[in-house]
């Protein structure tokens, strides 16, 4: 990290959050640990589900939307666990907390980093699943659903993983804590994706987009307000 003289006025929230996010992304560009783990996990999930569920052609098409989100959830949970875990283990958390920035900068910065990681995995999954499931994921609105769903999942996941790192058995606890909460994001995300894949008119799917947006707003607002209480000493 750069050694800068202590700023005389507090750094703006956005600048601080961006700095935190960029720190994570840069670290990842160097080590590529987290992303590679997420990818491998996602591929394994697809493999296992494909064999375990043994779909015929129509079955595969119907389950494609679900597969996308299940694999994203698996990979995303892995990434979330590592993101905050690394922070705490290396003692960076204290350093970040001492910095003259709003605590929520830490939340948004972590959220941005987690969001980008999941987005990268999602971007690779789209063409992959298009091939494997013989159904085109390349529709602009699917990208919108992807963005909203990942944002919501990372939004609530960042808050919850910041708690699970403080527990004994943190890796085990994160999915237990996160998945019931995330269901309310996954339901509209899967429904919207499936509708789009089946070629339903977007107007019919508005309810799912609305639910996704509402969930995002509610979760991220709550997480932003509650994050302070999690990281305070």
């Amino acid at each position: 990290m750069d050694s800068q003289p202590r700023p005389r006025r507090p750094v703006s929230l956005i600048r601080a959050a961006a700095a935190i996010a960029w720190k994570d992304l840069r670290a990842e560009l160097r080590s590529k640990e987290t992303l590679s783990g997420m990818f491998v996990f996602a591929l394994l999930a697809i493999l296992i589900f494909s064999f375990a569920l043994e779909f015929d052609r129509t079955g595969r098409a119907a389950s494609a939307a679900g597969m996308l989100w299940v694999t994203l959830v698996f990979a995303g949970t892995l990434g979330l666990g590592r993101s905050l875990g690394r922070e705490k283990d290396q003692g960076c958390l204290d350093g970040l907390l001492l910095a003259p920035v709003d605590r929520s900068a830490l939340y948004f910065g972590k959220l941005a980093g987690n969001f980008v990681f999941m987005l990268v995995v999602g971007a690779v999954l789209l063409p992959l699943l298009t091939i494997l499931f013989d159904t085109s994921f390349f529709k602009p609105l699917i990208a919108v659903v992807l963005l909203l769903g990942i944002l919501g999942y990372a939004g609530v996941g960042t808050l919850i993983s910041s708690m699970s790192v403080y527990t004994r058995g943190r890796e085990v606890l994160l999915p237990i804590l996160l998945l019931p909460i995330a269901l309310s994001i996954l339901i509209p995300a899967v429904r919207a994706t499936r509708g789009l894949l089946e070629g339903l008119p977007p107007a019919e799917l508005m309810i799912w987009f609305n639910l996704l947006i509402a969930a995002n707003v509610i979760y991220i607002t709550l997480a932003y307000m509650l994050f302070d209480f999690v990281v305070e000493e």
Partner: protein
């Protein structure tokens, strides 16, 4: 529990109010059972098994109330309310989880005869399942943290998020039936009561069950809070003893 023997010096004796409440609640439970089994008429389509509904719904309502209390307690705790709010929130989750367990286990017995199958993924059932899983997770979260202050904060935070998620899960599933499946999967619990054409006596039994379970919740909560206070006292004494004072 209300022993006539001499209490150890450290344990507070049970307040009269709690004894009265416990007895009163026990009486109400008996009365509610009478109303469910005898006072209310037998339902025509399902027969006797429909009577489960009274307690099933009563427990569900009390469970939801319990988790709402946890949200309030969580907010109070986080805004500087003090440890007692953490105790309330924790106790409420435990009692609530027991109530929801009753709900989730009794429901399928009723549902098998009401809908022909023990489980569906309709809004109420799905959000009840999410509720159960979330608050079981809450207890696991608390169990995994050693620092009491952190345990309280995290519990409060998770209790709030979990409640929000149950509501949103409910909304999410509600719209599945409306859009994808034009024919409703099966009557939901609330419409079933009107579909069954609740006679006045059934309504009486139902309302009485609601009230009874509210009292059951309050009684169990109070007992659980006292238990927690006792545990804290014991732990404090243990700590003092071990540090050789």
């Amino acid at each position: 529990m209300a022993s006539r023997e001499i209490q150890p010096a450290g344990a507070a004796s049970r307040p009269v109010g709690l004894t009265v409440l416990t007895v009163f609640t026990a009486v109400m439970l008996l009365a509610a059972t009478y109303m469910a089994f005898i006072y209310a008429p037998t339902e025509a389509a399902m027969g006797a098994v429909q009577r489960i509904f009274y307690f099933h719904v009563g427990a569900a309502w009390a469970g939801a109330l319990a988790f709402l209390v946890t949200v309030v307690a969580g907010i109070a705790y986080l805004t500087g309310g003090g440890r007692k709010w953490d105790v309330v929130g924790h106790a409420s989750v435990e009692v609530g989880l027991a109530l929801i367990t009753i709900t989730l286990l009794s429901g399928p017995v009723w549902a098998q005869f009401a809908w022909g199958k023990p489980w569906t993924w309709d809004p109420k059932l799905t959000s009840s399942a999410v509720m159960w899983l979330s608050y079981a997770a809450y207890l696991m979260l608390r169990a995994g943290i050693e620092d009491p202050a952190r345990r309280g904060r995290f519990g409060a935070v998770y209790g709030i998020i979990a409640f929000a998620s149950v509501i949103m899960t409910y909304l999410g599933v509600r719209f599945i039936s409306a859009t994808i499946h034009p024919t409703v999967i099966g009557p939901s619990a609330s419409t079933a009561s009107t579909d069954m054409g609740m006679t006045p006596r059934m309504l009486h039994a139902m309302i009485f069950s609601f009230v009874t379970f509210t009292f059951v919740y309050a009684t169990l909560l109070w007992h659980r809070i006292r238990l927690e206070n006792l545990a804290e006292r014991v732990n404090a004494l243990k700590a003092r003893l071990l540090s050789g004072s």
